[in-house]
Point group: C2
Chain length 97, copies 2
Amino acid sequence: MGIAELTGTERDEALAALPEWALVRDGKAIGRRFVFADFSEAFAFMTRVALLAETHDHHPEWSNVYNRVEIELTTHDAGGLSKRDAAMARAIDALVA
Amino acid sequence: MGIAELTGTERDEALAALPEWALVRDGKAIGRRFVFADFSEAFAFMTRVALLAETHDHHPEWSNVYNRVEIELTTHDAGGLSKRDAAMARAIDALVA
C-alpha cells in the first residue's frame, strides 16, 4: 500500500497549521526558507534536520548557500503532498521554534 | 585586497587538474555531482564538506536529494572562479578518492 496524496481539503488544513510553509511545484510540494547567522549555524540546523529525516524515513530536497537553507518536502510515492510532509514540516519547525 | 578571478589560461589549467568538475554558470563556477548509497552516506559526506568549508573559509552552494549531492563552487568576491574554488574542489575530491 502506498501513501495517499492529500485531498484539497486536507492540504488546506495542513497548510493552515504550517503558516511558515508555502505551496511550491504546482501544489505538489511545500517549501520554507530559513536564514541563520552564518554557515556554522545553518549547517548545525541541517544536521538536526538530517537526523529527523532518518527518524521519519522521509528526506528533504534542500539547498544551502552560506547562511540560508531552502527546504522542499514532497512524497514521491504519493505523487505530491502527503501527511508525511506535514509531519516532517512540523518537526522541522519545532527545531527553530 | 580582493581575490582575483582566474584568467582563461589559469582556469583551463585548474580544470585540467579537476577532471570530475565541469564549468557551470557561463564559466563563473564549477560543479560536480556525487552519488552515494543512501541519504546517510550522502549526509556524512556533506558533513565532511562542511568542515572543509569552515577550514577553508569558503562555502559551497549545494543541494541534496536523498543519495545525491550537487556542489557548485564560485568566489563572489572575485566575480567568478578563483584559486580558492580550485583548492576547495581538490579538497572535496580527496574525501571521495
